[in-house]
């Protein structure tokens, strides 16, 4: 992972990373970040949800497995790399595991910065690397039986573009 040394965040150890079965509340996460810092000028979030259709097949449930220990370490590395690249004030990453239903929330990334450009880019960077580097696996239960979701080449390309622009 490319991580220039400028913009090192003084609060890297404050980043909030959670792997949980429970649902999450975007507004509560916003409120936590805003209560913690008075210098936030921009909050950008990404929220991923379970779709009812994948590759044209109805999805009845989605089960997420992960590698406890490595997942937290990989996510911390990703958020720290983002904080070294842009002046981020704080960040929250929540990823759910276990069995989820269509329309359920899966993942939340919230990035706080002084200005929107850094927050937008930091959020997208974290999400792109989460897709390629964090050890989660999805298994769909569909009308055709259950199947492991294949990794998408498009996700690899989305991550790769960050190494071309510094």
């Amino acid at each position: 992972m490319k991580s220039p040394s400028f913009h090192r965040s003084p609060v890297a150890n404050l980043f909030n990373i959670s792997i949980q079965t429970d649902d999450f509340d975007l507004n509560a996460e916003y409120a936590t970040l805003r209560a913690r810092h008075r210098n936030i000028g921009a909050l950008v979030s990404f929220l991923g949800a379970v779709r009812d259709l994948n590759d044209g097949v109805n999805v009845s449930t989605m089960t997420l497995e992960h590698y406890p220990g490595m997942t937290e370490k990989a996510l911390a590395n990703i958020v720290n790399a983002a904080a070294q690249r842009w002046p981020l004030i704080d960040a929250t990453v929540i990823h759910r595991v276990g069995t989820l239903m269509p329309t359920d929330q899966i993942v939340l990334v919230v990035v706080a910065a002084a200005h929107r450009g850094d927050a937008f880019q930091g959020c997208e960077f974290i999400m792109d690397y989460l897709k390629t580097d964090a050890p989660f696996w999805k298994k769909e239960s569909t009308s055709d039986g259950s199947r492991w979701v294949d990794a998408r080449q498009a996700d690899h390309h989305a991550q790769q573009r960050w190494s071309k622009t510094t």
Binding site: G69, M70, K138, D150
Partner: protein, 83 residues
């Protein structure tokens, strides 16, 4: 001894999620891979190159050339699909 973990489709194909292996002549991830593949067809299939498996040693992504030592945790898993 090393602890070997299997995840997702590889875990299902092999039939269990962990085992403990005495290193003996096993010096690297590649040696461990050969040892596992020799254990049977379901190992060979699950860890075939076409499965695009990944390996991590002590929670970091590793290469096949990485050396192993007693106490290491080695994990084999398919390409990740979170988010």
């Amino acid at each position: 001894m090393v602890t070997v973990l299997f995840f997702a489709s590889i875990r299902e194909a092999i039939g269990h999620d962990r085992e403990t292996i005495v290193l003996n002549d096993i010096e690297s991830v590649g040696d461990l891979l050969n040892f596992l593949r020799a254990k049977g067809e379901h190992y060979r299939d699950a860890l075939a190159p076409t499965m695009r498996w990944r390996v991590a040693v002590n929670l970091d992504v590793a290469e096949i050339t990485q050396k192993l030592k007693s106490g290491d945790e080695v994990a084999f898993f398919p390409p990740v699909t979170g988010g």
